[in-house]
Symmetry: C2
Subunit: 411 residues, 2 copies
């Protein structure tokens, strides 16, 4: 039955079966799999009575209500990491559609439900391309980003049948506010026995692409002493990143991707390409950490006489979510009979971008073991039901003009 937690979970299963790969869930920007997922979501939006459009980057947008009034936006993303779970992103999109399904009357204020085409940034290394395009914050140089197959974002969009030039013409939309539901991806709610929580802030994040250029050579001939092995230098850097983050309170730093060239077992690696992802809830600490890691990388490269190229792909400052909106969301949680736990997010979310153009808030849903970015991602039907009730109450409440309800909360 539409609008139930069971239906949300069944739809998550259906979406989770749409992948670029057999046997595991991977859905990156501008792929046929993402387009098929968008088609499915588009149909569900239409069933809920929304008028659906799709923009040039592939965001699926369903709208209802007076077109001249700034809408309340509900949404999340449809893209995934490689070998992903079914709920990261998809759950927020499906909850938003289910809330519209539930509304007995036309919604009290205009609603827009958005399924963003790129939040993870897997294909082009830059996250939030979907919400940036929706928010009129798409930067022209991103069209020249290149994926692992050498395809530019411009060409990927053209191959998906859209016009990349349109991305540069989007103006900042007039939005009332943005609310995103998402699995917690952490252990707090599970530990405290709570179905949902209200997000206070999203950690800042810096992504960099590092290239190390050494000198290739024959593995059987070149004496160890004269080598300039790019992989050995990269390995030293990977361990330095790990050590640095372990020693810095509140910092996480990850080298998630490393490729070696030429990559033959009997050739000394000549080049290594690494990704670096650094996060901290405090912008000052994040900036210091990135500077420290860059210093360390330079020292390693100098000691090994290899070249280092360090380029920042994206630096997102920490974002505090809108206090007034958080309070109203917490009130809805309380009214549904649950403690309104406030918690920070270590992961980035589309709300980071939306908070630049309107007040934004997030509702976290408990997930088993805090596991995410993994096929074992799991949420309980009862928790999904609570999230639905909270979101419905919030949306209906937003239509009223009275003061926001108050209540004891830990916001």
């Amino acid at each position: 039955m539409r609008g139930t937690a069971a239906d949300v979970l069944a739809r998550a299963d259906a979406l989770g079966a749409i992948s670029e790969e057999d046997g595991r869930l991977t859905r990156r920007l501008a792929t046929p799999a993402l387009a098929r997922a968008g088609d499915l979501v588009s149909g569900w939006m239409e069933d809920a009575g929304l008028v659906v459009r799709r923009d040039a980057i592939g965001n699926v947008i369903g709208r209802t209500g007076d077109a001249d009034v700034p809408p309340l936006v509900l949404g999340s993303h449809l893209d995934t990491v490689p070998d992903a779970g079914r709920y990261d992103g998809a759950l927020g999109v499906l909850l938003a559609i289910a809330v519209v399904d539930r509304l007995a009357a036309p919604p009290p204020i205009p609603l827009e439900v958005v399924a963003f085409a790129d939040e993870e940034g897997v294909r082009f290394g830059v996250p939030y391309l979907g919400s940036a395009a929706y928010s009129g914050r798409f930067e022209p140089e991103w069209l020249d980003l290149v994926d692992a197959d050498g395809i530019t974002l411009r060409v990927a969009i053209e191959r998906a049948g859209a016009d990349p030039a349109l991305l540069l013409e989007v103006l900042e939309p007039g939005l009332a506010c943005y609310v995103e539901a998402h699995i917690e991806q952490g252990p707090v709610l599970e530990r405290e026995g709570l179905p949902v929580g209200v997000v206070s802030a999203i950690a800042g994040q810096t992504r960099a692409a590092l290239t190390i250029i050494g000198r290739p050579g024959h593995a059987g001939i070149s004496p160890m002493s004269g080598r300039h092995d790019a992989l050995a230098a990269a390995s030293e850097l990977v361990l330095a990143v790990e050590r640095f983050a372990r020693e810095s309170e509140g910092l996480v730093a990850t080298v998630g991707s490393l490729t070696v060239s030429p990559g033959a077992s009997n050739v000394i690696p000549g080049e290594a390409h690494l990704s670096l992802d650094v996060r901290h809830a405090d912008d000052g600490a994040l900036g210091q950490a990135v500077a420290g890691l860059r210093h360390t990388a330079t020292r390693i490269a100098t000691a090994r006489s290899v070249e280092l190229d360090w380029s920042i792909l994206r630096a997102t400052p920490a974002v505090e979510l809108a206090p007034e909106l958080r309070l109203r969301l917490a009130s809805a949680v309380l009214a549904e009979g649950h403690e309104a736990r406030s918690l920070a997010s270590g992961a980035g979310h589309d709300a980071v971008i939306l908070s630049g153009v309107c007040p934004a808030a997030m509702l976290f849903v408990r997930c088993a073991g805090g596991v995410s970015h993994d096929p074992r991602e799991s949420v309980a039907e009862a928790d999904v039901a609570v999230a639905l009730d909270v979101l419905e109450r919030f949306v209906v409440g937003e239509g009223r003009t009275g003061p926001a309800p108050t209540g004891s909360s830990r916001l």
Copy 2:
């Protein structure tokens, strides 16, 4: 003009232009590029008067003389590493053909010229597949080897239009002897001002494939302390291999290939796959080193609570080349007016396999800076001319029945 050093170099340029990739030379087993290179070589063999056949793995074999008499085999390989130079392998094939081009009369003994389809082992991780197939030493389980795209050797051979079952029917051929010319890939001849040298022995080599299985997770959420990062474990191993080899006299050890899964910038690596290449001229020292590295790898995996799979792809013992044949080759060098320098090879060669079925010898040709497995590989025309003179004299001399010439040499 055929049979000259200039022609050999021009042919090396032509072969070097045949690649799987634009802009760099890569020619792996059972690829269309290797087939096209084989076609070119086949034509040159026919021009030299050889009767040409191609076996199931793609070796190109040109024959002349009485089919019932064991032939003198000259050859080397046509496959390359990624981003290779033009001479590693190709030079030996082209010198062999040029020697046949030069022979005024029918050769004094039956000759077979072979261009092996796989020596580097890049595509399937196991080297010498070409010479093993030619020598009747092809092992049935190799048909199940899988390349980076998940294609088995069996399927790759079928797609190349051949019947893999034929590889298992090849008997050990009756061969008089095998002589291979090859660039030195090292600095000795250049340092001593010599155009050519006679190879005494080929270092033993062990190739292993290592898999590390950790636990993937979200880069922004997972605290540093609870991670089981497969890439961090792999990095520790890469540095341990480097340190171990630096501290062991005569040992070289290389991790040339490393891939990470899932390989997204915001996901902690769950799996890492590494190649390991270890070489030493002394088999005892090599065995000890491999055992020591395995112990180190196990220790690292245990400390990080990650799984380690260690599988030996190939262990080739050190090979002493045939003393009598080396002496005759050295005599030819002396007769051409050059010092007959004897030197060991750190790199593996097809002669390792051929020495299992007949006496084998190798002639090294000086190469600039000792550089190989690199587009900057270079040989001097004058040195190629010396190699041609030596090989021609050797082949003609082999036709005589008298005793091998003697002379002062450092063999």
